[in-house]
Subunit: 222 residues, 2 copies
Amino acid sequence: MNIINRAASILLLLVFFLAFFQDSVHGRPLLLSMSRPKPDAAALFARWLVSQSSWGVLNTIASDMGGAPFGSLILKYFLLCRNVVSFSDGLPDKGRGIPYFYLTTLDPTARNALKDQRSSFTISEYAIGTCGKKDPENPSCAKITLVGMLKVVTGDPKETSFAQTALFTKHPEMEGWPKSHDFQIYKLEIEEIFMINWFGGPKPLTVDQYLQAKMDSHTVIA
Amino acid sequence: MNIINRAASILLLLVFFLAFFQDSVHGRPLLLSMSRPKPDAAALFARWLVSQSSWGVLNTIASDMGGAPFGSLILKYFLLCRNVVSFSDGLPDKGRGIPYFYLTTLDPTARNALKDQRSSFTISEYAIGTCGKKDPENPSCAKITLVGMLKVVTGDPKETSFAQTALFTKHPEMEGWPKSHDFQIYKLEIEEIFMINWFGGPKPLTVDQYLQAKMDSHTVIA
């Protein structure tokens, strides 16, 4: 009986170990400590989605399009202006809703932003693994696009410090990225929000509602 | 000893079961049967990345921007033109490199494409879980943007059939999407490819090289 008990203990330990490990597959940090808000709570849901995500597609305007009309350059525009980037809006469960980025001017995204700040940033809930068996395109598997101005974070040492901690905690690798590559912290100052998290089209949501949503009042399950 | 052997068998079974289950977390189909090509094999790598992926960010041009110069409408443009969508380029390991989509005109993406086909589609390797512990922004965690024309698939019954099987196999949910929503199959006719899968900037890669890459010659490990 002793042997069976020991085997059972090992089994249990193994189950717990693998269940835990499963959450951290794909090198994703274990950040899913806050429960998914109901889709109707648009502001809270958007803040939750942003705080739980770690990457998205960032769009800028290629500098050589500067004010020119749409035309044959559109392909070059498309070619240069979208990029998969990492971001963070704060420490886990302490996000403020503003996405911070760590970008180098070796990449067109940062060069574009320095000349034309207009930008947008798209995130998919599918990437954080909370869509269950739903297809990534299913409207109830949320997607959000934040539209605004992409700016270098300078001047305010408190904000710089907040943003750097936010980024380096969620993306530990960043701290070691080559100093010679001129990485700088950028933020997206949001002007419009476009979120789909249920059937029937985008949720009406203002930037004020989004930024003022109180994450503290939300159930934390871990 | 018999009891210990039995316990060991149960343990082994459990390990295999959980290792298998781990691959299918997040409702992602089990498609990772082909090994990751070396980053230098640009065409093969791009085809592999597209064939293993199931979703990305699709960008179109908002119809109300039609030919107008850049200006204050840019925010509306950004707001309407990007969307998280599902896609497929073929059955697992039999992709042809051309992304097919299943879109409804209830959504601006399809409406835009019907008026202006210029489009681009961005995919991140991070989403398929083969970047290990690398950060999503790390250049060796690949990202690809395909630029071209987004067209409704009509006329050729063989292509329609190929595309429908490609989509419905990778995204079983699609088959049940409401008939009344006017879903149609679209494809991206690729004109330019922009892929980063290593340090030192985008890989030179022509559309011909991409489309003609022979996937058959590549090692299949499962």
